[in-house]
Amino acid sequence: MASSYDYDDGSLESRYGRPPSAGHGGASTDLGYDPNFVPDSVKTFVVHLYRHIREKNVYEIHQMYEGSFQRLSDRMFRDNPWPSVEAIAPYVDNDHVFCLLYREMWFRHVYARLSPTGRQRVESWDNYCSLFGVVLHGVVNMQLPNQWLWDMVDEFVYQFQSYCQYRAKLKSKTEEELQLLQQYDQAWNVYGVLNYLQALVEKSAIIEILEREKEGLEQFTATDGYDYEGGTSNVLKMLGYYSMIGLLRVHCLLGDYHTGLKCLAPIDISQQGVYNVVIGSHISTVYHYGFANLMLRRYAEAIREFNKILLYILKFKQYHQKSPQYDQILKKNEQMYALLAICLSLCPQINLVEENVNSQLRDKYNEKMTKMLRYDDEAYAVYDELFTYACPKFITPSAPVLEEPLTNYNQDAYRLQLKLFLYEVKQQQLLSGVRSFLKLYSTISIGKLAAYMEVDEPTLRTILMTYKHKMHAVDSDGKIIPNADLDYYISEDIVHVVESKPIKRYSDYFLRQVLKFEETISELDRIKLD
């Protein structure tokens, strides 16, 4: 293992030239298993996978990646890592790109089923640097399944988040672990992570591709990013695409919601797109988009998107029961219901929520939503609980201070976001009172309303203005967008109430159906009966 650590890598060979016994697979020498033993099934696995990748047989690669890898992991590697990369390298001609891919899967397995050590975390960072380095240099000509490429970016961000949490818990660290943190202080540093994602976005020119596609000059979404005819590599393009979602995610973890949404902007999530294709990417995109909008007070937008995805999951989750992502899908599903409950309590736009989603929501959160509308201490406790359950795992990106006294500060970032969120909730305290009264009237004088609400007139005026301000968010273009279902205006001393009617989007529905039927018809045309 190189002792001086720089992530703009030197030669790749140096990383695999070391003897297999040199600390690979764990800092401790007592591993309890032999990393060099390669069972026959693994031999077959890597040989076939290598061949499929060389032959660009995306379908087979996907089958092996999703199916065989999981099955073998279940059967043989429940408590142990897979064989080391040095052990399998001879079976795949020591192909260094394949070895990088194998190692990526190797580390992902360790994170998913076992508990990675500090050293393994650092080595995984090393591997990602090499892998992305190779991709960014444009020397890759494989076609890989989108699922795999998404998992790479997703896992990259996840391991970053995990490392930030890990290194922020200093109290229980051993001397050795602290040493490691100090020595490899470049590993998973936030600049590196962000710059890799940014580099993938730029080098792949994905934003230009999406722009050209809008003008009909490029086929991207239609082929899910693959190149069926030319066979050119989809790896850089798709990694660039998924990195936009990765950047949204990292910015949410940092608390920078505005920039996160900007990173996602080239993807139009009101339409179908490549982000839909892999369910993991679809869910992650909408979850973070919705959460960012919630923190930006664009409640109506958040509700709309949560509604769409929750409906989708309701309809289609049965098809993913066997997939390894099923647990994650369910977890995110529950979190988004919690976020939806929060949004609807702050901005009751129930007409934006589809029937089935609404009934699920009521099943899970009816009692809590009633409590949240009350705006007393119990309400804040519920907001706190739901926010804590559903929020991303915020991180402190700065390097740890490795001096006494050692503290655990992994909760700091989360506590700040929670505090600011509850502060916002508190500011909206009296608004639900206004809402419930105004629902009963078409006009009412300020004096009378003040009496009912047991406040004086000037206070009532401020409350009425607050409602207007809070319910009209400013979107990214500086336009004012109304969020509320209940609106009013004041003429001198009289409040005139206007209730907006629910909007039925016929045109959208027709457009979607036209496209769907056209697709069906062209598919039918393609079937040759002989």
Binding site: Y191, L254, Q427, T462, K468, S507
Partner: protein, 227 residues
């Protein structure tokens, strides 16, 4: 001199969009904040970028610069820029006196408590006067909120919101009658009424039902089938 300044800000904006995750641009961004203050311009993206860099390297954080950023963000209301900035500032830092004052001011503005706001602002003049244009910006925000809420606003309410009274208020109203479409009316014998310009928020009948419109791009997707 003016053109040189123009060129610097162009470069900073480019830096922020092309290479934002780079500790070397920190000083440029700090200078840009000072420039925004002196030339009464504003860039949310550049300021968020700087706050992020401070987050990555807390040792390099400059409190005066952050104070300036927050004041600029307050001036950007009704946009929620102030909270966006707070999300990026560590809790301990927010405990400083100056920040606490700014947070209180923001709270008053968010809850339309204009009288309390102007009282507090007067007490905190020393913090706020570093940024020119503050008063006008808040007055613009106050008028915005009034325009959302009122078709006809009584004079005392307006006066409290923008912190102007007497002859100055007369002049202010005159100016807006001439330039912004305000109209003066007499209410039932008491004070003046200011009729604010019609917009879709205080005149709901003007609300364009944008949801019924369809963006052109969506329709273009079915063009191939129509031909």
């Amino acid at each position: 001199m003016g053109r040189e300044q123009q060129q610097v800000s162009y470069t900073v904006e480019q830096l922020v969009s092309v290479n934002p995750y780079n500790p070397d641009i920190l000083t440029d961004l700090e200078n840009y904040v000072n420039e925004q203050v002196s030339s009464q311009t504003y860039s949310l993206d550049a300021n968020l970028c700087l706050l992020r860099l401070y987050q990555f390297e807390p040792g390099r954080m400059s409190i005066p610069i952050v104070v300036q950023i927050l004041i600029k963000a307050l001036m950007a209301m009704p946009a929620s820029d102030f909270s966006l900035c707070l999300f990026l500032i560590p809790e301990q830092v927010q405990m400083e006196e100056k920040f606490k004052t700014l947070i209180v001011l923001s709270h008053y503005l968010e809850t339309a408590r204009f009288r309390q706001f102007w009282d507090e602002a007067a007490k905190s003049r020393s913090i706020l006067e570093v940024v020119p244009g503050f008063e006008q910006a808040i007055q613009a925000y106050a008028i915005h909120v009034l325009s959302l809420t009122y078709q006809k606003v009584p004079r005392p309410v307006l006066a409290e919101a923008i912190n102007i009274e007497g002859l100055s208020l007369d002049k202010f109203i005159e100016h807006h009658v001439a330039n912004s479409g305000w109209v003066l009316e007499k209410s039932h014998g008491r004070s003046q009424l200011i009729v604010l310009p019609r917009n879709e928020f205080n005149h709901p009948e003007l609300q364009k039902h944008t949801a019924e419109g369809v963006p052109f791009e969506h329709v273009t997707r079915i063009f191939p089938m129509l031909s």
